[in-house]
């Protein structure tokens, strides 16, 4: 699974993209966020305020309960501020 980070999540994690293999118990977006938070201090800081983190699975917005089982690309980012 490819994981992308944008804006201050990328700043905190320290990378824009990584490829990971998740254990079977990581079923949802919320599970994945918890699991990623354990990978490094940077990851922990990035996911310290989960209500400020948004997710897209295969380039479509996904809520915390969405399944990541079949996801090829999961992205994490702050609420958008374009326009």
């Amino acid at each position: 699974m490819k994981v992308l980070y944008f804006a201050w999540l990328r700043d905190r994690v320290g990378t824009a993209e990584e490829t990971i293999e998740t254990p079977a118990e990581v079923a949802t977006v919320a599970d994945l966020m918890g699991w990623l938070a354990g990978r490094s201090d940077g990851h922990a800081k990035a996911f310290a305020t989960p209500d400020q983190v948004r997710c897209a699975i295969d380039q479509a917005f996904a809520g915390p309960d969405a399944s990541v089982s079949d996801a090829a690309e999961v992205a994490f980012f702050p609420p958008v501020t374009g326009g």
């Binding site: 804006a7 702050p78 958008v80």
Partner: protein
């Protein structure tokens, strides 16, 4: 039509070309968002912005903007839609985003223009980073933008 680009664009030339192409239908509405030269809601006491960088999620951006464009066509009887959104670094006064809509009915042109800018503010994956004398910072999302989008979810014409 959707365009996501780094290059600056000429607001007048884009609107002139759009109007030329579909103008005979009756009305053309546009909204241009530009880099402000100050931070926050009011200029009083707000620090100046030297420049801004827009990061985006290539691929998802185009998909979201195309969905928003299709939704506008579904809700209103529009002759044409143009959305240009830039990414990269830009200076105060430079255009960030342009939305143009045309319709035989002026209300359709004006309302769909407002719908498009409201929606893309909360549904298109862009993030603004401002450079100020006090350092750089990521712009925080505004609750008012979510409210503006929620309004359209309540009312489908």
């Amino acid at each position: 039509m959707i365009r996501v680009q780094q290059a600056a664009f000429d607001v007048g030339a884009e609107i002139a070309a759009f109007t030329q192409g579909t103008g005979r239908v009756g009305g053309v509405a546009t909204f241009t968002g530009l880099v402000r030269d100050y931070l926050g809601e009011t200029p009083e006491g707000a620090p100046p912005v030297r420049a801004m960088t827009l990061e985006h999620y290539p691929g998802m951006t185009e998909r979201q903007l195309e969905r928003i464009e299709a939704e506008a066509h579904r809700r209103w009887d529009l002759a044409d839609v143009l959305v240009i959104h830039r990414y990269g670094r830009m200076a105060p006064g430079e255009p960030i985003v342009l939305v143009c809509t045309s319709s035989a009915h002026r209300a359709a042109a004006l309302e769909s223009c407002q719908f498009l800018i409201d929606w893309l503010k909360t549904k298109a994956p862009f993030w603004k980073r401002e450079e100020t004398p006090d350092g750089d910072h990521w712009v925080e999302a505004r609750a008012a933008d979510d409210a503006a989008t929620a309004r359209w979810e309540r009312s489908a014409p």
